[in-house]
């Protein structure tokens, strides 16, 4: 069994933290994992993405071939569209519904929504609002991870939840609690 996941967003939105949590869960579950990251100049307000591959078998390529991603997890709706050629036929898109506009030629929001709504499996929510309600806005990326949990499949929701707790452990109990609430809210929102 294998799952190919593309994480994307705008530099600074916290996609690498999502990758760290899934990576921690995968390692604890004894899965093979490869995770290609973007470092350097592209982090500064530009588009960023990370390829995350989980499998019970050997994984060769660090990059996901086109048409094979099971899930696109995106912190920004237009960024989700950027990786469509990588999405598999039955693949899911889990994305924040809120646009991050830092370029003059950002497309019409309604056009982005229309593109996303054409896809067979889409979960699209205002993750910042949910995070604000249950924890703090900084946990928005963990809300998104909770929303993606059912689509990740190869790891159970409990395994991912456990990894959230472990990854934030050294930041203290309050931060762990806030992120668990954010995760649970994400799971509940799509459930």
């Amino acid at each position: 069994m294998k799952k190919d996941i593309i994480l994307c967003g705008v530099g600074g939105q916290g996609i690498l933290s999502i990758a760290t949590i899934i990576g921690e869960a995968a390692t604890a579950a004894g899965l093979n994992l490869k995770q290609a990251e973007v470092h350097g100049m592209s982090q500064r307000g530009g588009d960023v993405q990370s390829n995350l591959r989980l499998s019970t078998d050997v994984i060769y390529s660090d990059l996901i071939p086109m048409g094979e991603a099971d899930v696109i997890i995106s912190m920004e709706p237009m960024e989700a569209l950027r990786y469509l050629p990588y999405l598999s036929k039955e693949g899911a898109v889990v994305t924040s519904s809120q646009s991050f506009v830092n370029i003059p030629n950002y497309p019409e929001v309604s056009a982005i929504d229309a593109e996303l709504d054409k896809l067979p499996k889409v979960a699209k929510l205002d993750i910042e609002q949910i995070a604000k309600e249950v924890a703090t806005v900084r946990s928005a990326n963990v809300v998104l991870l909770g929303m993606a949990a059912p689509y990740i499949g190869i790891l159970s929701t409990d395994e991912l939840r456990g990894a959230v707790a472990r990854v934030f452990e050294r930041k203290g109990e309050a931060v762990v609690e806030a992120n668990l609430k954010a995760f649970d809210a994400g799971v509940a929102a799509v459930g």
Partner: protein
């Protein structure tokens, strides 16, 4: 025990576990994380392994050679273009040979994710006539470092290790072992190897040539090179030579259904290539970077044997390999379903909100506009290269580390006025100081702006070699102290900066303006560190 490591981190830990005594490096994507890992490692701290950043790749290479001379194992790391900076020391280190194991790590950036070219460092290995290692995955990177140090000490030659962005910045679980002890201090005693006067150099070069068959044999017997022939004759009669991470894309696409030769150590294993050619109708060379191997294999097999790769268009001539272009070259159909969305805009990187470089460019472009189309601004390598993009569109060139000052000087020599250079603090100490001395000696009519954010910003905020020394350096190089001017770049001071630039343009000799304010990324990080320290 297994650890989840970036390719860069696997190299760093492999080196530490092989008994490393010092890493020498200047930050450069995608190599930076090697040195950063060692800086943060407990064992490295306990052993006092050298890991402080160097001023540039040449000083790094020479210091590493000095540590090797003393009998210890040393690693020098850089991005591919850093090889150009240290090339003098690098090539001559193959002539002197080494004492303690010496690995030169070059991180290439095919597709230029964060670089100005995609030169292939394997050429440098061939040029210097030394062994080259090219790991295919994170585990191999970790294991290979130990082997590379051992081979370096057996041959008494430095070895080159080449990685590419996709390995450097990709994470996987790596099986690790215990750390070996460091080498004892044992400085070289034979001067004739090291004093490269022509008489000695000729003897040393002859010795290097004599080692070539041994170097070739090491690659032929290497555990990292492997001819994988199918049990039954494969349907597809193409044999595939897979270099470095090219192997992964080939396996991803065709599994075990084709005959392949995996290459991760050079010189090329000629016997294996001939054997693969003998059981194939043609060969496909899958290599990331430039067609180094493709050319060599053509030479090896002669004109009659068909060899495909980047030169024939089977793979793209430029840009990195990926699972899609390799699958296509192998005739494997893509599973792609969705075309790129038409509702999509590019999102290039940009200056952080609150960055001091913004204020410098806001001032600079307005003053430049006052001179019609006469003024030119020569840029350099760093975050501030983003000044080339809208809304600033404020620089006219960006070529290599330090070129802003020297190009401004040359243009001023030719009659361009105003001729302005803009360079970051770390880039200035890396390669700008010598150019400034040339300009001072020539009384060049230039304005040099050293945009000082107290760090090496673009690579993530590493220490900058000249911090707190810039005025002193400029004055010591001969710039008139009255024309070495410092200002804090912030939105309320843009008018003041503009006036300062106008005044220094009017001064008909070298002047230096230093807008100085800490990078907001490192400022935030330092604040977090302070807060954390207070909690404890």
């Amino acid at each position: 025990m297994k650890r989840l490591l970036l390719g860069d981190e696997a190299i760093a830990l492999g080196a530490l576990h092989a008994g490393l005594s010092g890493v020498y490096a200047y930050p450069g994507t995608p190599s930076t994380e090697i040195t950063e890992f060692i800086q943060g490692d407990k064992l490295a701290r306990e052993r006092n392994v050298h890991s402080r950043w160097c001023t540039n790749e040449k000083t790094a290479m020479e210091a590493a050679l000095g540590m090797s001379y003393a009998g210890k194992r040393a690693l020098v790391c850089m991005k591919h273009v850093g090889m150009n900076v240290c090339a003098d020391a690098f090539v001559n280190s193959a002539i002197t040979g080494c004492n303690g194991g010496l690995i030169v790590l070059a991180a290439d950036d095919p597709s230029m994710h964060s670089s100005q070219n995609e030169q292939d460092s394997r050429f440098y290995g061939k040029f210097a006539m030394i062994p080259v290692f090219e790991p295919s995955n994170q585990q191999e990177a970790y294991d290979m470092v130990e082997e590379a140090f051992a081979l370096s000490e057996r041959l008494k030659e430095p070895v080159l290790m080449r990685v590419v962005t996709r390995l450097a910045h990709s994470r996987a679980a790596v099986e690790i072992h215990d750390a070996k002890a460091e080498n004892e201090l044992s400085p070289e005693t034979d001067r004739t190897h090291w004093v490269l006067l022509p008489g000695n150099a000729k003897r040393q070069y002859a010795a290097l040539i004599e080692k070539q068959p041994v170097i070739a044999e090491a690659a032929a017997d290497s555990e990292f090179n492997r001819l994988e022939l199918c049990e039954d004759e494969p349907e597809n009669k193409t044999g595939v030579i897979c270099c470095g991470i090219g192997y992964n894309y080939v396996k991803e696409a065709v599994g075990n259904t084709m005959n392949v030769l995996k290459v991760s150590q050079y010189p090329l294993p000629e016997k294996d290539i001939v054997a693969l050619a003998a059981v194939s109708e043609n060969l496909l060379v899958v290599e990331d970077g430039q067609p180094v191997v493709e050319e060599l294999v053509r030479g090896m097999l002669g004109a009659g044997y068909p060899v495909y790769g980047r030169l024939t268009g089977a793979l793209p001539r430029a840009g990195e390999l990926n699972p899609d272009n390799v699958a296509k070259a192998l005739g494997v159909e893509s599973n792609k379903v969705y075309d790129p969305s038409p509702v999509l805009a590019g999102r290039p990187p940009q200056f952080c909100q609150g960055c001091g470089h913004r204020d410098v460019y806001n001032a600079l472009r307005e003053v430049v506009a006052e001179f019609g189309d006469k003024a030119r601004v020569f840029g350099d390598i760093g975050c501030y290269t983003l000044g080339a993009l809208p809304p600033f569109t404020a620089i006219d060139s960006c070529v290599d580390m330090g070129a802003s000052i020297t190009m401004a000087k040359g243009a001023a020599d030719a009659g361009v006025h105003p001729s302005i250079a803009i360079i970051g603090d770390s880039t200035f100490t890396h390669s700008g100081m010598t150019g400034l001395l040339d300009a001072v000696n020539d009384h060049s009519n230039i304005v040099v702006v050293i945009s000082d954010n107290l760090t090496t910003g673009m690579t993530g905020g590493q220490d900058s070699a000249g911090t707190s020394k810039y005025e002193a350096i400029c004055v010591a190089l001969g710039v008139d102290p009255a024309h070495v001017r410092v200002i804090v770049p912030q939105p309320t001071k843009v008018e003041q900066i503009k006036e300062m630039i106008r005044e220094e343009i009017a001064y008909p000799d070298v002047s230096v303006i230093i807008p100085r304010r800490e990078c907001i990324q490192t400022l935030a990080r330092h604040a977090r560190q302070k807060a954390a320290a207070r909690k404890q």
